[in-house]
């Protein structure tokens, strides 16, 4: 277990380094931040002075070395636009993103897994039809459009919820539903399919023939085996959600990491893009690692030694 963890941490560090190098080079290909930051009437001399003051004129290798040596101690520099620590800006948005991701994923799991199981255990029933409809619609409806429809219905027509911003539980409902929608669709489909497969296995027939109750067979035997792909999908989706969603955060004016990342890219805020990219890779790698560990907990056959 210790060796497994150590090896995984080594791979993760290498992956993060690769991401940082790639992001450093790619954002610089997008062009000169001074063009975006200065007013149109700024003269060429002012632009040159600004570039010098901000260090944009230094050789790329010098900038890269400085960036790496600082990033190694967790310093991503100051955002060019906010002029405060880029990492602090990312961390400042984390609670909003985390709140939305946990709520959306919790909702998705709570709806999709039971629905998928119901559909698998009652093939051809109304539950099965419902599960298939949810799977189809959840994946087919664009989140952006669904968000606007929810606003029109729940906020404008019924006046039940605030349209935008992050102010209390009421403001969480619509972004949560919008974000959960796609995951509910994918997860319902997967739960129905893997549970259906599990229920056709020999050990399930054996369990039934031993006289075990249906609930015990479904939940103690079949679900445990069907859980691995579900955990993988939950983990992958959680990783994505923690990176923030530009569309959903924009529609509901949710102050999360997705919007921050998009702005940083469009405004060529290099330090902020780098800090967000580092955060994103850290999250994905951590979630993957945790997912791997959870596999072993759920299924002792794949425990790492």
């Amino acid at each position: 277990m210790g060796r497994f963890l150590l090896a995984r941490l080594g791979h993760s560090a290498l992956a993060i380094l690769c991401v940082l190098v790639l992001v450093f080079l790619l954002v610089r290909l997008t062009g000169d931040p001074a063009v975006v930051m200065l007013p149109q009437e700024a003269t060429a001399a002012e632009v040159a002075a600004f570039r010098e003051a901000m260090g944009f004129d230094r050789p790329l290798a010098v900038q890269f070395w400085e960036f790496l040596s600082r990033a190694a101690v967790g310093d991503f520099g100051k955002s060019l636009h906010y002029r405060i620590s880029a990492w602090a800006l990312v961390m400042e948005r984390l609670p909003a993103t985390l709140e939305l991701a946990v709520a959306a994923l919790g909702f998705a799991v709570a709806v999709a897994v039971p629905l998928g199981i119901l559909a698998a255990t009652r093939p051809g029933s109304a539950w099965d039809a419902a599960a298939q409809a949810v799977a189809l619609l959840g994946q087919a409806i664009p989140a952006y459009w669904a968000g606007l429809i929810l606003i029109l219905l729940l906020a404008v027509q019924l006046g039940l919820l605030p349209v935008a911003g992050r102010s209390g539980w009421g403001s969480l409902v619509m972004p949560m539903l919008t974000m959960a929608m796609g995951v509910v669709g994918r997860l319902t489909q997967l739960a129905r399919s893997v549970m259906g497969d599990a229920l056709r296995q020999d050990y399930v027939r054996t369990a039934h023939s031993k006289g075990l109750g249906a609930a015990a067979v479904y939940y103690r035997h079949a679900l445990k085996n069907a859980a691995i792909p579900l955990i993988t999908m939950i983990g992958v989706n959680f990783g994505y959600m923690l990176g923030g969603s530009v569309l959903i955060e924009s529609v509901f004016a949710w102050p999360g990491i997705g919007r921050l990342a998009a702005q940083a890219v469009f405004q060529r805020d290099f330090p902020l893009v780098q800090a967000v990219a580092f955060f994103g890779s850290l999250v994905v790698l951590t979630v993957n690692l945790v997912t791997d560990l959870v596999y072993g907990w759920v299924n002792p056959q794949i425990r790492h030694r």
């Binding site: 062009g31 007013p39 149109q40 901000m54 404008v156 004016a253 999360g256 919007r259």
Partner: protein
């Protein structure tokens, strides 16, 4: 050239009685505010928030007249020398007294090279202190819009002690000024709140107790937030939402023609050299061959105005007696034939995609009209930031679409910015035009400037540096409870503390 301007009374437009501030106004703005230090960004929404807290020396009222603010009066001693008498007894929100030293500190601070918005104070060459509240400012050369620049929030006066002791970060995050509102809180990505300054020196100002700036990036969500009463004022409403809003009894719509003037530029400096656009007749033919009015009707539902030149219809010096160039495809074809291109020619044209409302569609329509003349346009749509990089380096094709606006409702900045060799955006050089623009930009005599700009516009029609297009109308919508608000051409909300109130 001696001219005195005195403050007559204390009241500004709209201020009638010294009533206590009351109510909260919530404004929905599209972009996130990055900084509250106006020397750090030229972004208008950030400037608008900062303008509630910090003040420059003067104020440009909605009618375009200069009014006293931190300067009680001012005098133009000669074309490069100004005398300002500053208001006495004013303190910053933290108690630091306001004097001429703060003006000099703010000027010097604003010119540090790492600041992204140095323009308004840039003309200042030196400052002399006649006493604590009288300063003489000498500019590097005659600047006809210097006083308008002194009314821009980027020339706001900072408290020297606070700014020096607490540094840039505090000035940008928790600004302190002399303004009608005091900084309250800022939740980045969500909202900024400011509260009425109880010690503000003008009685009856502000009329609002609290002002909240809420970021709502999506225009549909902004409209919905307005309809549900979550916000009171929604900025930047797309034209297609206006008819629906006008039918809603809870809200009203206000609009102003934007100062941004759109055009298709001709390059005669780099990529256009040796191409047909070098010929005056070809450029004129392109102007005559595009039905600009039809494009305005189709793409902007008629909510834009055609311009007669590169001097916009809401700018100083606009000549309303000069009609725009007509749509005359027959004459356009004749001119092309005369220039030696009876069956047209192929040419490259670039267009930013998503930088402005309907930019892509506008370019496609223009290319379509040019095609009817036989001009086969190779249209290249580009991501805006990449586009501006190429534009600043004069690497765009011989034709390119763009728009330029200005903060001062004066053509000086954009004319110099797009048509004089010193500017990084200039892709078309015309000596005669440059001389006229430079002459108009270096005299303080308003009448002479007006005459010169009239000549500029005529010269532009005779030998077009651009294919002249339009200025778009900006829409804003507000709840019926908001009083005294009207949209302004440059999107500045500087009038808000003086004019705007809310009823219960």
């Amino acid at each position: 050239m001696r001219r005195w301007v005195l403050a007559v009374g204390l009241s500004l437009v709209g201020v009638t009685a010294a009533a206590a501030p009351r109510g909260t106004l919530t404004i929905g703005i599209p972009p996130d505010v990055h900084t509250l230090d106006p020397t750090m960004t030229p972004e208008v929404n950030a400037e608008n928030v900062a303008a509630m807290i910090m003040e420059p020396l003067l104020y440009l009222d909605p009618q375009g007249r200069l009014q006293p603010l931190l300067a009680e009066s001012w005098q133009v001693l000669d074309p490069t020398t100004y005398l300002f008498r500053l208001r006495r007894g004013v303190t910053f929100h933290d108690g630091e007294p306001f004097t001429g030293r703060a003006v000099e500190f703010s000027w010097r601070r604003s010119q540090e090279p790492h600041r992204a918005n140095r323009e308004p104070f840039a003309p200042v060459a030196r400052m002399e202190h006649l006493d604590d509240h009288t300063i003489r400012i000498v500019t590097g050369g005659p600047d006809p819009i210097f006083l308008k620049k002194m009314a821009n929030v980027s020339a706001a006066i900072f408290p020297p002690r606070y700014a020096a002791e607490r540094g840039d970060e505090a000035a940008a995050q928790r600004p302190v000024g002399t303004g009608p509102f005091v900084f309250g809180e800022w939740v980045r990505g969500d909202h900024v709140t400011v509260r009425a300054n109880p010690r503000y020196y003008r009685p009856g100002v502000p009329r609002l107790a609290t002002l909240v700036w809420r970021t709502i990036p999506e225009s549909d969500a902004r409209v919905a937030a307005l309809q549900t009463g979550q916000i009171d004022l929604a900025l930047r409403i797309p034209a297609h939402r206006v008819p629906g809003l006008e039918r809603d009894p809870r809200v009203k719509v206000t609009s102003a023609l934007s100062t941004r003037t759109f055009y298709v530029a001709f390059n005669n400096v780099t990529t256009g050299r040796g191409t047909p656009v070098m010929d005056r007749r070809v450029r004129l033919a392109m102007n005559l061959g595009v039905d600009v009015q039809a494009i305005i009707k189709a793409l902007f539902q008629g909510q834009a105005e055609r311009v007669n030149s590169f001097i916009g219809n809401v700018q100083f010096g606009h000549d309303p007696t000069l009609p725009p160039l007509p749509y005359d495809p027959a004459r356009a074809k004749a001119l092309l034939a005369e220039a030696g291109y009876p069956s047209g020619f192929p040419i490259g044209m670039a267009c930013p995609s998503g930088a402005y409302v309907a930019d892509r569609e506008a370019c496609q329509a223009i290319a379509g009209y040019l095609d009817r003349l036989g001009i086969r346009v190779d249209l290249q749509l580009m991501e805006p930031n990449r586009y501006w990089d190429l534009e600043a380096n004069r690497q765009l094709p011989p034709l390119f679409f763009d728009g330029m606006g200005d903060r001062f409702q004066d053509p000086d900045v954009q004319l110099k910015g797009a048509l004089t060799p010193e500017s990084r955006w200039t892709a078309f050089e015309d000596k005669a035009l440059t001389e006229l623009i430079t002459a108009a930009g270096s005299t303080l005599d308003a009448e002479r400037r007006r005459r010169l700009y009239a000549r500029v516009a005529r010269q532009m029609q005779a030998d077009p540096p651009f294919l002249f297009l339009w200025q778009v109308r900006n829409f804003e919508a507000l709840r019926q409870r908001v009083r005294g608000y009207a949209a302004r051409p440059n999107e500045s909300l500087g009038h808000l503390p003086f004019d705007v109130a809310v009823s219960d």
